[in-house]
């Protein structure tokens, strides 16, 4: 489903020197699998997700999703591929404030190049328990409701892979479990593979497979090192 091979990514420092961020020899995620990638802040989690989604290009290596190396796709094709096959759930939900909950979900379908499916958008919102809040804009929704809309939007195009970037970071402890349950349940129902990035042990402890980015990413020191 998702395969990373010899992926390297670095940024340029102000003095022109390369600053290595990612160096991943091998990482694999099977179809429908739910995996947590755990790492502390600033260890390249978001960069990795951006590389997997094709928002950021890698310097070297292969990122294969559904048998296509997206690192080698032209940008336009990569965008379309992302729209069709990858769902995103962000730390800050990132709902667009000008659109209603229903329109935010529809927006997730807009860039696939195919007709938007309003009935699916309604059904997804219904499944996350927001059928009565479809016409409300994000400002009128609670934090928990916003996150549920974000999940519905991420699943709008029946993606193969859902990337969740610290989805519980902005949710109070009382609602964290709801978010995790929602994500896991939705992914199981839709048969979507999920790569969830977090630094929170109480989240990662609930998943069967937990990978430490410090272990996967050779740029970083080992999690067993004294620095951690």
């Amino acid at each position: 489903m998702l395969l990373l091979e010899n992926v390297r990514k670095s940024y340029r420092e102000p003095n022109g020197e390369p600053l290595p961020i990612l160096d991943i020899e091998h990482f694999r995620l099977d179809a429908g699998e739910q995996t947590v990638l755990r790492g502390r802040s600033g260890c390249g989690k978001t960069t990795l997700l951006n590389c997997i989604s094709g928002l950021t290009t890698v310097d070297h290596g292969r990122i294969v999703i559904k048998d296509r190396d997206i690192a080698r796709l032209p940008e336009v094709t990569r965008d379309r591929f992302r729209a069709r096959h990858i769902g995103f759930v962000f730390q800050t939900f990132n709902l667009l404030p000008a659109f209603t909950a229903f329109e935010n979900v529809l927006l997730g379908m807009t860039f696939t190049g195919q007709k938007t499916d309003a009935s699916r958008a309604r059904r997804l919102l219904d499944e996350v328990g927001l059928c009565h809040r479809m016409g409300h804009k994000p400002a009128a929704l609670s934090v928990g409701e916003q996150q549920r809309v974000a999940v519905a939007r991420a699943l709008a195009n029946q993606p193969s892979l859902l990337l969740a970037d610290e989805p519980t970071a902005n949710v109070d402890p009382a609602h964290q479990q709801q978010v995790i349950d929602l994500l896991r349940g939705a992914c199981e129902q839709e048969k979507v593979a999920m790569l969830l990035v977090t630094h929170a042990p109480e989240v990662s402890d609930q998943f069967a497979r937990v990978e430490y980015l410090e272990k996967v990413n050779r740029v970083l020191p080992s999690p067993n090192s004294p620095a951690l």
Binding site: T46, L55, L96, P97, A98, M109
Partner: protein, 441 residues
């Protein structure tokens, strides 16, 4: 969801800024509409003034411009008159074969009322019966009509017809009498009374602002007759008056004592017009000149009103450009606050060209909506000003008075909006997704 809807939602999100920038575009477009339509109407009205006949024949002293200004627009001092016999050439003389209608004009008197001065034009009923003015929308000639009363009658010497604007401003109505003043000054001697028998419907021509009297009565007024060459002619005027005689016992002035200021000539055809033009302007007799008023008026419009219109159009185009730049500034300034939204859309699969298209769509929508409101606003102004303009200038302005230039506005605005939207769209295109997503809200 279409890009248009996304753009519309973005506009709604910034409702106040969007409304203000759209309104500035509306004002610019409204001004442009006003300039275009008012110029068009003015040209039409000016042209109408000089339509319905082929030639104006008048005294050779003074020149063609003065002749046209005097005869068509009732402006300026009267020209030196030409003999009545010259007019008769068009009726039953050498020029008659080429002439369909010849209408004599005698100008020189005025009528003063309520602080306004109106030119008194002495003519024959043929002016309103046999001559048209301008053209209707279907191309047919516009005929003079009376909103009340009727035309003057040849054998009722002291009848008069008043133009619509003159009637409104002076208060004259059918059945009233008025006394023309000799000359153009209010201090001139008052002539005998004429009775108003008709009020013209508005024509949008200078005739709306004039009073027309029967030329036969005009000739009988003090100071309008040439000295008599024999006693019989003088005696003929001095019969005992009959109390019910509309002509007050007066007989027509002998032709040898008459003069005319100018003659409106409707020719049989274009060949007749050219023949008369040649005969009058190139012949040995230099008593009069013949002017083609249509050409001269068009020339005046091109040389006088044309440049004014150009200046006004350039100014309004500048206003629209400023409005367009305000759209650019408004959208551009909002780019930093919406870079996060753009990054989210990119994460959802929107390509760079898609987000660029959304920003362009917003610019086009703002310009188009502003432009459409401007078109409506401009025409609403025309409709509101219509009664005032009609009352004071006799020019008809209508809400639906469209000019074909307006049809260029919409495609023009789309192109213009695309240009002004390009810079913010380019900013959207270049948005750093990773940084913007990380910035959060």
């Amino acid at each position: 969801m279409t890009f248009w809807k996304i753009a519309w939602r973005n506009m709604q999100q910034r409702a106040l800024a969007s409304s203000l920038t759209g309104f500035s575009m509306a004002l610019g477009v409204a001004l442009m509409i006003l300039v275009i339509v008012i110029h068009e109407v003015t040209v039409q009205q000016f042209s109408s003034d000089a339509q319905g006949y082929h030639l104006i024949v008048g005294g050779s002293k003074g020149g063609d411009v003065q002749l046209v200004m005097n005869t068509v627009f009732h402006i300026g001092n009267p020209l030196y008159p030409i003999p009545y016999s010259y007019y008769k050439e068009f009726v039953d003389g050498n020029y008659a074969p080429f002439t369909k209608v010849a209408i004599p004009y005698c100008i020189g008197d005025s009528f003063h009322a309520n602080g306004w001065r109106f030119r008194v034009v002495a003519t024959t009923p043929d002016l309103f019966d046999k001559i048209s003015y301008g053209a209707n929308d279907d191309g047919s000639d516009k005929q003079y009509r009376f909103q009340s009363g009727r035309n003057i009658q040849t054998d009722h010497f002291f009848e008069a017809v008043v133009g619509s604007v003159a009637a409104k401003k002076s208060g004259l109505k059918v059945g009233d009498t008025f006394q023309p003043t000799h000359g153009m000054s209010a201090a001139g001697n008052k002539h005998v009374e004429f009775e108003i028998v008709g009020v013209l419907s508005p024509t949008g021509t200078a005739n709306d602002r004039a009073v027309f009297v029967n030329i036969e009565g005009f000739y009988l007024l003090d100071g309008h007759a040439l000295p008599a060459e024999n006693r019989d002619a003088t005696q003929a005027q001095q019969q005992e008056p009959d109390p019910i005689d509309p002509n007050r016992g007066r007989l027509p002035l002998p032709e040898q004592q008459r003069e005319v200021t100018s003659i409106l000539v409707l020719c049989n055809n274009d060949l007749g017009m050219m023949s008369l033009d040649q005969a009058i302007n190139k012949g040995k007799d230099r008593t009069a000149i013949a002017v083609k008023p249509g050409y001269l008026v068009q020339d005046m419009l091109d040389k006088v009103i044309g440049p004014v219109r150009l200046v006004l159009l350039v100014l309004t185009i500048l206003i629209v450009i400023v409005a367009g730049i305000s759209i650019l500034v408004s959208i551009y300034n909002s780019m930093s606050e919406r870079s996060h939204d753009i990054a989210v859309m990119r994460a959802l699969g929107a390509s760079r060209t898609a987000v660029m298209g959304i920003i362009l769509a917003e610019s086009i929508l703002l310009s188009l909506l502003g432009g459409l409101v401007g078109v409506l606003l401009g025409h609403a102004c025309l409709a509101i000003a219509s009664p005032y303009v009609m009352a004071h200038a006799g020019i008809t302005l209508r809400f639906w008075q469209f000019n074909w230039y307006e049809s260029l506005l919409i495609p023009g605005l789309v192109v213009f909006a695309s240009l002004v939207g390009f810079l913010p769209a380019l900013t959207a295109y270049r948005t750093d997704v990773g940084r913007s997503l990380g910035a959060g809200r």
